[in-house]
Symmetry: C2
Subunit: 219 residues, 2 copies
């Protein structure tokens, strides 16, 4: 058998890891932080970024890579607030991969930025499995999703460096035990900070914003 006919396929995760490393090198060189926001569809990821734009655009220069299966709706929402946002369409895939993120990142004006947020495809499972070269994964979970999600989807909460528990304005209207959710998070990842926020109205967001700024200062 002629050796030249042997096709070698590298494992896909290996190729993903290479692109993730390229992204990490680029971010390090440009002194830019990249955070990967992961949560269910409708967990409030875009509202979190809109709130950051409203409260911190004077003190923080940031850009957003919006991951979605279809549509440019989320990028449009951020552009209305003068945030530079690109839309990354997966065309059916349920997560972002490192190569697509790398190409979109390279096109951003990194010399002018402190931080890039990647809003991953709305999904609690698959995005957690793909390293995209981020400095940290952030789990975004809304109180309307129930208390037990960290136990049912442990990988994300294990991988994440922080949890943002959103939509706390709805707590008075839900039969939701916040202590049960906090315990479930602690069972999966004992050391993780949890920020309880009502980003729509801007309540409780200060600590979350301070945590972001601390990452930028440490970069």
């Amino acid at each position: 058998m002629n050796e030249k006919t042997i096709k070698v396929y590298k494992d896909l995760m290996g190729a993903n890891a290479e692109w993730a490393q390229k992204t990490r090198d680029l971010l390090k060189k440009k002194k830019v932080v990249m955070l990967n926001l992961i949560g269910s569809p409708g967990s409030g990821k875009t509202v979190l970024l809109e709130r950051l734009a409203k409260d911190c655009s004077d003190s923080l220069s940031f850009s957003v890579l919006e991951g979605d299966v279809e549509t440019t709706k989320d990028a449009e929402r951020l552009q209305k607030l003068d945030i530079l946002a690109s839309q990354l369409l997966t065309g059916g895939a349920c997560h972002l991969e490192a190569k697509l993120v790398h190409y979109a990142l390279k096109d951003l004006p990194l010399d002018e930025l402190d931080i890039v947020f990647v809003e991953n495809v709305g999904n609690l499972v698959c995005p957690a499995e793909f390293d995209i070269g981020e400095e940290a994964k952030i789990a975004v979970l809304s109180v309307t999703e129930g208390e037990e999600k960290p136990s049912k989807y442990p990988l994300l909460f294990n991988e994440a460096s922080a949890v943002v528990l959103t939509k706390t304005d709805l707590l008075p209207h839900l039969n939701y035990k916040i202590g049960v959710c906090m315990e479930a998070i602690k069972d999966v990842n004992g050391s993780i900070p949890v920020f309880q926020v009502d980003a729509l109205n801007g309540n409780g967001v200060e600590q979350w914003h301070e945590w972001i700024k601390e990452r930028v200062r440490a970069c």
Copy 2:
């Protein structure tokens, strides 16, 4: 080269389709309907089934296959209501595949059942891609997820035979335009019925329950 050393791998979707067909044959033989509930984590799929158990267990004999990445929490919730429920754990995977569903289905007392519900893994993307031999897919979407999800995750809404729009009890507390969501559904799938329900309190569930019973009568 010895022919015996040649390994043949059938494409995975092909194998999935074979198991789905086996399930369809079994359901037809046993005159049992199988509905595949697909929605985000926390969209209210289990509450829908709990409501059905409370309101219709006299008129409908049903069982549930609960798909999750981890934990048996959902099956336990249904067993408390005397519903026979099995838990299908994917061990990390973001959707149910036909083979696992087939084996779990075969173990149910199909001669005594009108209908089997499969509650798929909480995820708006991947489960819609996998035929598990169901008669129909049902998209479960909560009003807390925002109006635009049918546009952003079109495959599920295109594949579904009905949409259940859940948590309508929270509408007074949300800035949610139900007409915008209805338009988004219509854009993707013009002919699909949409049931607006508050399953927690049992409001608006009658038409949804009647639709289920009609599927059973037609079986």
